[in-house]
Symmetry: D2
Subunit: 340 residues, 4 copies
C-alpha cells in the first residue's frame, strides 16, 4: 500500500515520515509541502538521513493527488481550514484520509466556529468522519474513509476518563484538568516566544480558560457520560521538547479498586496503554519516543476525589503515532506495526 | 549586625550565603555544617568564589552558638526535627532565629505528627513562633524572636489566595491547586531519581494526594477564610533547576475586577509581589533569581471559576529570599536590602 | 537465535534491551543483573513497558550461562574487569560474546594497566578478540567469537580519522581532539556531580589530559597511520542526556576535495555514516536515537589545518547500537536490522 | 552620574538595564530602542519588573542624545556598523561611550572589512578607542572617552593567554581553541535555528574556521606575544542559555608551576578572575550570573602542551558586566560596584 503525507514540513509531519518510512506494510510514496517542494527530505529533516534516501518534497495540488492511482492513503498534517481543502477532493475520489488537523474533530459547526474563529470549511463531510481514539472507539469506524485523528491534550485526557464516565464511576461535573506540554506542541513555529532562551528553564500557563482543544474534550466526555460536562482545562508550556503531562481532579463515585478494575478491563489487551499502580506516576520521559499512554490514579479520602495522571508523547500518541495506529487497525495490519 | 547560617550545605543554605554576604546591613559571621566543618565555603559553593573570600564552615554546636555574644541572628537551614535542636537553646538565649524548616509552621502538634511522621520536637515553642509571609502577616510578628519561614509551595499559593479568602471573594471549599517545582526543590539530594538523565526532559507527579506542605496550606487558608478548607493539592517535578509554577482553580464569588481590586489594594506598595494583567501569565523564568511572586487571574464564565496562576523562585521567595526579607523587616532595614 | 544481556542495569544495557527486544532475527532470552535479579524489566526500565512484557532479570553466574544450550550470543554490559569474568568461561564454552567494556579493546596489557589501574584480568584472550568498528575493520573479524566493541568517544574520532590516516591525507602528529558528551556517558551513576541541578545549564571539562579512552584512540590511530600518534584529547560534559560532539584539528596534507573523496569512497555504501557537505555541521540532535555517525570537514587556509566535526549517540553508535550492528554483520543479518 | 543604554532591546541590553538600575553610583536615565520606543521596560523585560518601575524606552536620535546635558555616559548595545552612527556624535560632544559592538575592537580597517563585510564606518575614531579587558590593559585607557568592550569569546581566551604570551611561557604558534557558547550568544534572534526544539539537547559547531571574533583574538594575542599568531578557533553552540566554556591547547615553554605563578601574580588581587587549582575545571554553571572568569590549566607530559580551560557568563564578563566594570574603573567607583 502506498501512502502520502500532505504538508509534511512540521514536527508531526517529520514523525509521520519517520514512522511510515520504516513501516513494514506501506510504502511512503509522496511527501508534499508547498514551501519545500523540490528540496530533499534528508536536507530538511537531517535526523532522518539514514531513512529517506533521495525522497524529495513535491508540490501538493489536492486535485492532482486525488487522481493519482498510485496512492491509497493520505495523512493530512496541515493547519485546520487548509486540511479541508485536501480532505474534500481526496474523499470524493475514494481515497482514505487520516486528518491530523481539527477540521473533523467536532460534530458541531457552531462550536467549530466559536473555537476556531472561522466558518467550517467542509460541513458536508462532518458526518462521514469519525473521531477515533482507537482504544476507545467502537468497531465500525474502520469502514470510514475519512478519519479525524484527535488532538494531543484530548488524547491524554480521554484515555483515562472515558471508561470511567461510561461506567458512571466519576462525576461528570466539576472536572479540573491541568496539562503541561513540551514546546514541540507549538510546532515548528518561529516566534520570539519560542526561541530557546525564552522557553528554557521556564514554566508558564497560556491560552486559558478556553484552549481550542477544550471543544473536542467536552464533546467527547459528554458523549461518554450521557450528561453535560463543563470542564476547567488549564494549559501550560514546560521546558522540554516533547511530552504531555496531565493531572485530572474528579469527584469519585466509587472506590479506587473499582476504578482500576474498569481500566484493566478496558486496557489489559491494549498494547499502547499502560495502567500503572496507584501511587506511581506517569512520567513523560518514559513515553517519549513511544506511542504509549501511561495512566494512574490515587484516591484522596480527604476530598473524595480521584487524582488521575497521564503522560503521552504529544507527537506520537498525541498525533502521528496515533494516526499510524489508525491506519494499522483500519487496514488489518498488526496494531503495533511500525510503532515499536 | 552579625548573622550565622546553621546547616548551610544545601541549596537554600547556599542562597543564604549569597544573600547575606552581599547584604549592606549585616555581616555573615558564621556558616556551619556538621559534614563540611573545616572546609572553605568557596570550595563547596564555587559559584560564590568572588563573594566569600576565606570564609570556612564551622562545626555547629547549638549550645556554643547560643552563648556566642557576637552573633545576633541565626538562619536555620536544617531538616525538620533537627531545626528544633538548635531553635530551642538559641531562643532561650535570646537570639533571633529565622527557621526555614517545617518545625514551627504548624500550630497543631497532632497535624505535625500526622504529616511529618514524628512527635513534635519542641511543642513549647510553637506559640512563640509566628508563621510569616511578610506581605500577609499582621504587624506584631516583628516582636517575635523565633519566626517560621513558610514553605515554597505554600508561599506561591497563599500570596494569591489569602487576600481573596479574607475578603470573601472566593469559595473556601473545593479549591484545586496544581504546582510544578524545579528540581532544586528536592535540595541537593543524591538519589537515582534526581540524576540528570532521569529528570531532564521529564515531567511527572509525585507525593499525591498528601504532600507535607498541604498541612500548612490548609491551616493558613482556614485562618484567612474563617472556614474549613479541604484543598486538592497536586505536586509535580518539572525539568528545570528553579522555580515553582502554581495554577489554582477556585469558585468565584465576585467579578474579576473585584478580585484585581483586592490584589491591587493589598500589593500595590509591595516590592516583591507583581500583579499581572488578566490574560498574561506568570513565568518562572521571570522570577528566577528574584524574590518576587508574580500573580494573575482569569475568570471563566463557563465554569464560574477563577483560574489563578503564580510563579516564584523556590529558593528565594520560597525560602532564603523570604527569610532575608523577614530579617529586613524585623530589624527595620530597607525591605529590599540585599534582595535586588 | 537467542541472545542474553549480561549486566543490563545501566543505560547501555537498557538500550540493548530496547534494540534486541524488537530485533527481527533474534530473541532476547535473558537479561541478567546481580542487583536486580528477580525484578521485572518493565519496572526498572519503564520506557520499555510496551516492549518487554513479563521479562525478568535473572542472576548471572558466568558458568551457568556458559552451559546454557539455549543462548547463542552474549552482550556484556559490565564494568571493565568484571567483563572478563564472564568473557572467559563464555568464550571457552564456544559462545559468541560482544563485550562493551574496555577489557578487550587494547592489545597491550601494559597500557591497560596504565590506564585502568589494574592488571589485565584475562590477557590470554586478547589475541582472540578483535576491536571492531564495522565500517573500518577488515573482513575476517567475523570469524572471531569474542569481539571488543569500541568506546563512545573513540568511535566518534576513528570514523572520520582512520580513512584519512590510512591514505596519508593528514599528519599523524599534533592531532587535537575536543569531545563533549551528554551526561548519560557517565552511566546511571548516582553521585552529587551528576544530579540534575549540578549538570543542568553547565559545561565543563573533566579527566584531562589522560582520559581512559585515549589509550584505544592512540592504538587505533597508530595502526592506521603506521606511525606514532600522540593525541591531545580533551573531554567535557555537556548539559544534555545523550550525544557526543567531537571537533578535531589536524594538519592537512591534501585538499578538502581529496579528503571528501576519501570519505565518500569509504562510506558511500555504509548505512550508518553520513558525510555532510563542507560548511555544514554534525548536530548531536540529528543523530540521537539513531546508530548514525555524521561527519564533515572544513579546510582553513590560514592554518593549513582541517577542522573535522562528528556527532554520534553515545549509547547507540557509541555502545549498544554498534554492538547490535556487529552481531548483524557477524551472523549475516541485514546490517540495519533492528537499528532503524 | 547619569547613564543611558542605546539599543537596549536585546539580551546584553537587558543585562545592562539590570546592572545599572541597581548600581549604587549611577542613575539609569534613559533606555533607548527604535523598535520599542514608547513601551515600558517592565513589559519588555518582565524579569526586571521589580527594578525598573515606570521606566520607558525612548527613541534614540544620536544628535539629540549628544546635546542632552543630563547624560554623562552611554552604553552602546547596538549591532556593528550602527554603533558608529552613535559613537561619532556622542564622542564629538565629549560624552563617555562604552561600545559593546565590534566597531572599535580592531585597529585595522582592512581586517574589519575582511571579517565584517563592510567598510569601517568611522575609521577616524579608531585611534581614540582603546580595546580594554580591565584585568589586562595598561592604566592610561581610563583617559579615553570611547572604549571598545571586547567580545565574549575573546574575553574567555585572553584572560588565560595574555599573561602567558607576555611572559613568553607558551608558544605563540599553533594555538588551538575550542569554545562553546550558550544560545544567548546569538542574542534574541528569532530564526528557526534558534527555536527551543532545535537547540535543546543539541550540540554542534558553526561558523568555522573564521568566526568574526577571530580577528580581535589574533590582534590581541599578537600584541601580547610580539609575534605572529595564527589561531585555530572552533566555535560551537551548547544547549544552555548562558555561558562560554573554552578549552585551549598550547605548546608549553615552561612548567605548570611557572604558568600558575604568572597567573597568580597577574590575578591575585583581581576580584573577577579566579585561578582554580590544576586538575579542577571551570564550570559555566559557577560563573553564570557573575562577572567572573574562572581559569585553570593542566600540563600534559605526553604532548608537552598545556591544556587551559576557562568559563565566563557571555552576557556579563563577556559583555554587559565587563562594560560596567570598565565604567567603574574609569570613574573611580569600586571595581565591583553593582556587579556582585
Amino acid at each position: 500500500m502506498n501512502a502520502a503525507i500532505i504538508g509534511a514540513s512540521g514536527y508531526s509531519g517529520e514523525e509521520l515520515v519517520r514512522l511510515l518510512s520504516r513501516h513494514p506494510d506501506v510504502e511512503l510514496a509522496a511527501v508534499t509541502s508547498r514551501s519545500l517542494a523540490g528540496t530533499r527530505v534528508a536536507d530538511q529533516m537531517p535526523a532522518l538521513r539514514h531513512l529517506v534516501g533521495e525522497l524529495t518534497f513535491t508540490a501538493s495540488d489536492p486535485y492532482d493527488l486525488a487522481v493519482n492511482p498510485e496512492i491509497d492513503i493520505f495523512f493530512l498534517a496541515l493547519p485546520h481550514g487548509v486540511a479541508s481543502e485536501f480532505a474534500d477532493p481526496l474523499f470524493q475520489a475514494g481515497k482514505t484520509v487520516i486528518d491530523l488537523s481539527a477540521d473533523f474533530r467536532l460534530s458541531s459547526t457552531r462550536i467549530y466556529e466559536d473555537y476556531y474563529g472561522q466558518a467550517h470549511p467542509a460541513p458536508h463531510l462532518l458526518e462521514a468522519a469519525p473521531y477515533v481514539i482507537p482504544e476507545l472507539a467502537d468497531g465500525n469506524w474502520k469502514d470510514a474513509s475519512l478519519i479525524a485523528c484527535p488532538g494531543c491534550y484530548p488524547t491524554s485526557i480521554q484515555i483515562p476518563l472515558i471508561p470511567l464516565l461510561k461506567a458512571g464511576l466519576i462525576e461528570p461535573k466539576g472536572i479540573v484538568i491541568n496539562s503541561y506540554s513540551g514546546v514541540s506542541g507549538a510546532g515548528r513555529k518561529v516566534a520570539e516566544d519560542f526561541i530557546y532562551c525564552e522557553r528554557n528553564e521556564s514554566m508558564k500557563g497560556y491560552g486559558m480558560p478556553k484552549h481550542r482543544h477544550l471543544s473536542e474534550i467536552e464533546e467527547q466526555l459528554e458523549k461518554a457520560a450521557f450528561a453535560d460536562c463543563v470542564v476547567q482545562f488549564n494549559t501550560h508550556l514546560a521546558p522540554m521538547t516533547r511530552g504531555i503531562s496531565t493531572t485530572i481532579v474528579v469527584k469519585a463515585r466509587t472506590s479506587i479498586d473499582t476504578l482500576y478494575a474498569s481500566w484493566e478491563k478496558r486496557y489489559a489487551a491494549k498494547p499502547f496503554v499502560s495502567v500503572l499502580p496507584s501511587g506511581t506516576y506517569p512520567d513523560t520521559k518514559y513515553v517519549t519516543g513511544t506511542n504509549r499512554c501511561d495512566i494512574s490514579a490515587v484516591y484522596d479520602s480527604r476530598t473524595e476525589n480521584f487524582v488521575i495522571t497521564s503522560a503521552i508523547d504529544n507527537l506520537l500518541k498525541g498525533a502521528s503515532g496515533q494516526a499510524v495506529q489508525l491506519m494499522n487497525l483500519k487496514f488489518g495490519f498488526e496494531e503495533t506495526a511500525g510503532l515499536v
